[in-house]
């Protein structure tokens, strides 16, 4: 359903010369699959997700969604064709309430609070406490991250891309989050792409794509790829860095 052909993306570095972030990425993501993209920090995963959502325009290459060339489509057009994107770092808004945001996401001004609450409950938030909270700096990082996931759930898109949904979410809720992802797949019969470093998420993938230094280092079914990642130096050192950065509970 989603095809990327020779996607290249570059930015101007400090000295003004071009720095290649993505080099020639070609991918074919089939319908109804649960795909996990992983790889070292700075490898280009978020950049790729933003190219899919239309936030970045590739320097070269083409993107097809259901066979249609969407390379030149705006973010809005892609969203309306059925692409959703949950940000790695969700955006905060002064004055916009959680209910407003879910209504915007669901494209239903009259969505009842009760219906909106379902999405919040799904991500483990006690809906009544949050529905009228503003999506502003008063929310904790983990709360904001869950609300981001809830808004994306409300869209029921055919393709949903989550950028590190587990970041900032506590261990207990993480368990339930996995169920949420499984549920989306049933609900939308669509495709879910998750960018993640978590073994537990890799564990439920149909396919795994490893992106390193702007290139696809490997891809294939979970059984083909997972043993390789867990054994590799890259993954071990990456996990090590992450653990150190994490405050002890």
């Amino acid at each position: 359903m989603l095809k990327l052909e020779n996607i290249r993306y570059e930015v101007a570095d400090e000295k003004g010369s071009d720095k290649e972030i993505l080099k020639n990425i070609t991918l074919d993501i089939p319908e109804g699959k649960f795909v996990v993209i992983t790889g070292p920090n700075g490898g280009g995963k978020s950049t790729l997700a933003k190219i899919i959502a239309g936030i970045y325009k590739p320097a070269d290459g083409k993107i097809f969604f259901d066979g249609e060339d969407i390379t030149d489509c705006s973010i809005t057009d892609r969203a309306n064709k059925g692409i959703s994107f949950a940000f790695q770092q969700p955006v905060r808004f002064k004055g916009i309430e959680v209910l407003d945001l879910i209504r915007l996401a669901a494209k239903d001004k009259n969505l009842t609070p009760a219906d909106a609450c379902k999405y919040l409950s799904e991500v483990g938030l006690c809906a009544r406490d949050y529905i009228n909270r503003e999506v502003d700096a008063s929310l904790s990082g983990g709360e904001l991250k869950r609300i981001e996931i809830a808004t994306v759930l409300a869209r029921k898109s055919r393709l949903t891309v989550f950028d590190e949904p587990e970041a900032g979410i506590d261990l207990w809720s993480f368990q339930n989050l996995i169920k949420v992802f499984e549920h989306i797949k049933e609900l939308t019969k669509g495709t879910v792409i998750i960018i993640s470093h978590q073994e537990r998420i890799l564990d439920i993938a149909d396919e795994i794509i490893v992106i390193e230094k702007g290139e696809i280092a490997s891809k294939g079914s979970r059984d083909e790829i997972l043993p390789g990642i867990l054994g590799s130096d890259a993954a071990v050192s990456m996990c090590h860095v992450q653990k150190e950065a994490m405050p002890r509970v």
Binding site: T76, A79, V91, F93, G95, I96, D100, L104, R155
Partner: protein, 310 residues
């Protein structure tokens, strides 16, 4: 029965949420004159002897009651000046709604200058809602001008929450709010302002914290678009152990100009005063996020402004 023409109906709905004859205490001022009025046992409205406005007297212990005093101007070239005094007894809990709407149908300026004074008794709670709104017939060149002055005197333990909104159609405004806050009393002011076209708005808020444990919280949000100009001054004076906080947030767009001059004046070493201010464009990432939900850039901008001014 009073007769309400369509313009008046619309303006009353807009500024005071009145859709039919209001219940409770009210006073409707229309084109510079009192048009209809109702007092209740606890809330008595009377004209001032010199004819400059009205007095609203609320008895001690009045709770869960409201009073509504909207002003409608549907004339061009009218300059309406009025003084309304609210004497609120002790231990009350009341809501006061005072909106003003101008419909300008001609080429002369129409203006409303209202002075509202609140004398709030010990341990009383007042919620004061004030909405300003203007509209004009197509092609009419007259400006809509409003210069509201609000004076607030909070006695010991009293609380007032003032909510003022000016979202549409006022070409020029010069707003002054002054408060004197005694021991254990608390003031919250929330101001929402949108300017567009060539509108100019200026708001000045002075809060004097004169009693121990008094507090003031001033929250101003404004959006300035097109070639409009918006100015915000605030000054919180701490004369006793007290706490004051002000926050001024502005979204600036197009060729608009925004000036924010917050002031803190601590005259007691135990005055804790804080100010936060920010002026900026709508954050690009906010627009992008809403676009990923399927909104067009224009819809995204409108949703962000709506939320911000809510």
């Amino acid at each position: 029965m009073m007769t309400i023409d369509d313009i008046e109906k619309r303006i009353l709905a807009e500024v005071a949420d009145i859709h039919k004859t209001p219940t409770g205490a009210y006073n409707i001022r229309y084109n510079g004159k009192a048009q209809s009025r109702n007092s209740t046992e606890n809330i008595v409205i009377s004209s001032k002897e010199d004819g400059t406005g009205i007095d609203i007297r609320i008895k001690d212990g009045t709770v869960n009651q409201s009073c509504c005093i909207p002003v409608v101007i549907a004339k061009t070239g009218l300059k309406d000046v009025v003084t309304n005094d609210f004497y609120i007894g002790e231990n009350c809990d009341v809501q006061i709604v005072a909106g003003c709407g101008i419909h300008n149908c001609g080429d002369q300026d129409s203006q409303h200058d209202g002075l509202h004074r609140f004398f709030i008794g010990k341990n009383s709670k007042v919620k004061y809602v004030e909405k300003h709104y203007g509209e004009a017939d197509d092609g009419s060149k007259g400006g809509n001008i409003m210069n509201p002055v609000t004076e607030i005197y909070l006695d010991e333990g009293a609380f007032m929450e003032m909510e003022s909104t000016q979202i549409k159609g006022i070409d020029s405004t010069n707003r002054v709010t002054k408060a004197e806050i005694k021991k254990d009393a608390k003031l919250i002011v929330r101001e929402r302002l949108l300017t567009n076209g060539t509108q100019e708005a200026e708001s000045r808020i002075d809060a004097d914290l004169i009693g121990e444990n008094s507090s003031a919280n001033i929250i101003s949000r404004s959006v300035a678009t097109d070639k409009s100009k918006s100015v915000f001054y605030s000054r919180i004076v701490g004369k006793a152990p007290c706490s004051g906080h002000s926050e001024c947030d502005a979204i600036i767009m197009d060729d608009a100009k925004v000036l924010a001059l917050p002031g803190l004046d601590a005259l007691s070493p135990d005055a804790a005063l804080i100010h936060e201010a920010a002026i900026g464009k709508i954050a690009g990432e906010q627009l992008i996020k809403l676009e990923t939900l399927g909104l067009t850039p224009e819809e995204a901008e409108a949703a962000i402004i709506d939320g911000f001014l809510k």
